[in-house]
Symmetry: C2
Subunit: 337 residues, 2 copies
DNA sequence: TTGAAAGCGGTACCAC
DNA sequence: GTGGTACCGCTTTCAA
């Protein structure tokens, strides 16, 4: 392991000059800087995280706290964050805090205290806690929120444009020729639920289609509720929709399941679309038309903002990245007649 | 932040003595040790990770590498490892390495080089790579394998007793009165597949039941293949099993799905059991009888071994922890008649 | 524009 | 059994 001393030696300067180059201070002659950078490259020099942390009192690592990293959303975000960190040359240190536990503040304090982490990524559900954000601020932590369900006025956040994505899903169904389209919404007060439903209704209105009361259900993001709703929606052959857009894949799977048990074939008799593109979307048959969220891009942007903060550009309080519609085999033109 | 210096002051000893107590060296008078420990507690002293790392050249953190932490198995293990680390007072630093990438060795070297991590938990798929283990050994890393599919002769590993769990699932079905029991296996050369099938066959043999050829299928751990297998298995009303044990929950879900589309009710007409207790097990209806793997216990044991290595006890090369049978509503006595 | 030297919080070699 | 002190690699004040 080459040290700053080796680099100084090789470049024929003092370690202070090397340090200046490392922290790109202004007062270095370009020529000197070149010399030092060359030496660093030749020696494959990397500054020591430990030494820096010891000196500065802050860890170089980026912190992330989870309530349940095995959950799909958090897991995907974690994966994307790890990937982004690798690309940015930094490392991720994770901690587990029970959501709603009475001593989460102590757990967080302990984490910050011990790791000396001062840059964090906040994912749901913690990004929605104003108390938690306040504590972070008091400890001098800079952070970026990812996909908060309640947009925070006091913090920079990165989200995804779910309304638009839901609009596109619906438009896709419309463009296939569907005119009788149902929607199964998620948990009612979730922002995601509202956005997805809003996009659905916007596309419907734009196409001049009716949003029938009994084609609008609430499945609360779970299989069982969605199955019950689907059963009702599909009960009357004369009155049923030819396509159903469920607000997540698990509920879409429930629709497929129900259709199958009613003797309907997906997509010939009924088109089904989901949202999230989780494992179940390709685990079932037919694979679901769904929406893929830009986890990778979001994590990359979050890490970039922490690693190279740009006070100017980071003023954008609520940047939203685009989702992507993935068309698979669960959607097709409606049955004729 | 109290330092070792503050502790020494308060206890009226030198920092060296404090250091000795910290590293529980032998040459300290019990009385002195007590005094120091008291001072540490009073000051809420915690040694600085950075200072230790700088001095020793090794990070205190425990490392873990994933190929895909959003996958169910890795995600659960990650969650359990985080929890275990918190309880053990250490922290987890994760890295992402693409499975089968041609420069995984460089990625690993970079990770070790930069983080100075020297204690790692190896989870699938990396725990199965002898090359990777060799590289770790060369770098002086101690590690514990979790659930390797090929038991490694050269490393300590922690696994779960899947054969026994599969045996218990089957026994549960037998005890309900089933005599016609099918099995849908996973990907053929996976160790998990073999163990689960072996447990199934052992229970069958013990109960004096027949293992019929057409009640043994291969679903390759995915919904679609399992659905096809189930369709065949359930095709002939006179010849079909009254219970099916699938080697994972996703395949069990496929069985439920197929049963439903054939007009069969689970569990009245057909009992279904899965394995893994993943989200889908409780997402579908009826919730699946399945097997819960001891992720928490395994992670705790893995961390314990890394944090307080015990050369004596750690000779146990392949410790296996017990799984737990979870009986839910997808299993019931066979239909009468 | 550059350099010497102190110190961040520990560990460990040596002397007592 | 205990204490003095050099040192890990870097940042930073102060002088030159």
């Amino acid at each position: 392991m080459a040290t700053i001393f080796d680099v100084a030696n090789r470049a024929g300067v003092s370690i202070k000059t090397v340090s200046r180059v490392l922290n790109n201070a202004s007062n270095v002659r370009p020529q000197t800087q070149k010399k030092v950078q060359l030496a660093m490259r030749e020696l494959e020099y990397h500054p020591s995280f430990a030494a820096r942390e010891l000196r500065s009192g802050q860890s170089e690592a980026i912190g992330i706290i989870f309530s349940d990293p095995s959950g799909g959303f958090q897991g995907r975000l974690h994966s994307a964050a790890l990937s982004a960190c690798r690309d940015a040359g930094c490392f991720l240190t994770a901690a587990l805090i029970e959501e709603g536990s009475d001593n989460w503040a102590d757990q967080l304090a302990e984490f910050l205290n011990r790791t000396r982490i001062r840059r964090m990524i906040l994912v749901p559900p913690f990004c929605d806690s104003a108390d938690l954000r306040e504590q972070l601020r008091e400890e001098g932590v800079t952070f970026t929120l990812i996909s908060p369900s309640i947009p925070a006025a006091d913090a920079v956040s990165l989200g995804m444009n779910e309304e638009q994505a839901a609009y596109e899903v619906t438009q896709h169904l419309v463009s296939l020729g569907h005119e009788r389209i149902g929607h199964i919404a998620g948990i009612e007060d979730h922002v995601a639920t509202q956005l997805r439903k809003a996009g659905f209704l916007r596309a419907l209105a734009e196409a001049g289609l009716e949003a029938r009361e009994n084609w609008l259900g609430v499945g609360a993001f779970n299989f069982r509720d969605a199955r019950d709703v689907a059963r009702q929606m599909l009960a009357d052959p004369g009155e049923r929709p030819t396509a159903i857009f469920a607000a997540n894949d698990e509920m879409a799977a429930a629709v497929c399941y129900t259709a199958s048990s009613l003797g309907l074939t997906v997509p010939d008799d009924l088109s089904v679309a989901g949202f999230d593109d989780v494992a179940i979307a390709t685990a079932i048959w037919p694979p679901l038309t769904t929406v893929s969220q830009p986890f990778t891009a979001i994590a990359a942007e979050a890490v970039r903002r922490l690693v190279e903060p740009d006070p100017e550009a980071d003023q954008g309080q609520n940047e939203a990245l685009e989702c992507r519609l993935i068309i698979r085999e669960s959607t097709a033109p409606p049955p004729v007649g």
